[in-house]
Amino acid sequence: MEKEEVLSLSPMQLDALREIGNIGAGNAATALSQIINRKIDMSVPRLNILPLSEVPDVVGGADTMVAGVYLRVFGPAPSSILFLLPRDSAFSLVDMAMGRENGTTEVLNAMDESALMEIGNILAGSFLNALSYFTKMTLLPSLPALAMDMAGAILSVILIQLGQVGDYALVIETEFATEANDVRGHFFLIPDPGSLGVILNTLGVNE
């Protein structure tokens, strides 16, 4: 059987992908910082090639409670974007976005849910702007969808799609945090099977 695409990436290809992740995530962090009017620290994006079953460990395990904003990316390189926050971070983020005192929110109402989805939308849009710029491709996000549940259950949506063609996921992942560390989050870009090759081609690093 042919070796899995994600396992045969060259160091140069990995570098190119990491750099895109870096700039995309930087854009997204700037957008987030503007929404909540706070300084945001961002980790250097990690480019991980993980067995599918280990992806939930990135956010603390399959039974960790998280809020997830999920968007599909349409265009020549269909992908999925997932913005995951621990439950408490999601509440703090909503408090900041809605101008409430931190610690107010304990349950999300419909307006809070809209706010979270909109934040996910803005982050995804700013990330995709960078990706579109580098690849000269038009990449458009779907409407966002929100779920508040166990990380394993939320991630399964993406992992199942990848599972049809392989046992590994290429995960471009960045961690965000405010200075007070009251909002932390993970931003995932997971290219669909086949999309990785398209991205590498447009970057000119597909040998």
Binding site: G61, A62, G152, A153, I160, G163, Q164, V165
Partner: protein
């Protein structure tokens, strides 16, 4: 000391009384528990996809409904289970995100549950209880002392099959 045996995504394990087998955070995946009440042995599979013949990467048998069940059955029989006494309980198969333009990809939970039922039927294993569908995640645990299948959720409480 009873042991808690963990089953990851696209994974399966068998065990015997007094241990229990747990799998965390099932979304669209389906957890399949087989149990023999007389010898108190059983097994749990956490499948991701309905059909190995539709997929390109099929090395991991535990990933698909059609290939995981025969392997799980063998492991349960190897621990002393009797095929004629085995019953099955299943849980999972939810749709975590709802989109206006729901595609086949989004309905994978339903398709997983349907596939599991069909495979159990073809193997003549009786399906005695199920907790499937909805839009929420489940953690499932098979208690091998009683055969009870516990389902824990975040907002929908606990269910005992």
């Amino acid at each position: 000391m009873p042991e808690l045996i963990k089953v990851g995504m696209a994974d399966l394990k068998a065990g015997k009384n007094p241990d229990s087998i747990i799998s965390y955070g099932l979304g669209s995946c389906v957890g399949i528990a087989l149990y023999d009440p007389q010898t108190k042995v059983g097994g749990l599979a956490h499948i991701m996809l309905p059909d190995s013949t539709q997929a390109r990467a099929t090395d991991n048998k535990a990933k698909f409904a059609d290939t995981a069940l025969p392997v799980l059955l063998d492991e349960v029989l190897a621990l002393g289970g009797s095929r004629s006494r085995l019953t099955a309980k299943i849980a999972g198969g939810s749709q975590m995100f709802s989109f206006a333009q729901a595609t086949d990809v989004m309905r994978i939970g339903d398709r997983n549950a349907e596939a599991v039922r069909a495979v159990l039927k073809s193997m003549s294993i009786r399906l005695v209880a199920e907790d499937v569908g909805g839009n929420y995640g489940r953690t499932v645990e098979l208690l091998l002392d009683s055969g009870a299948f516990l389902i824990k959720t975040v907002n929908k409480g606990e269910n005992r099959l």
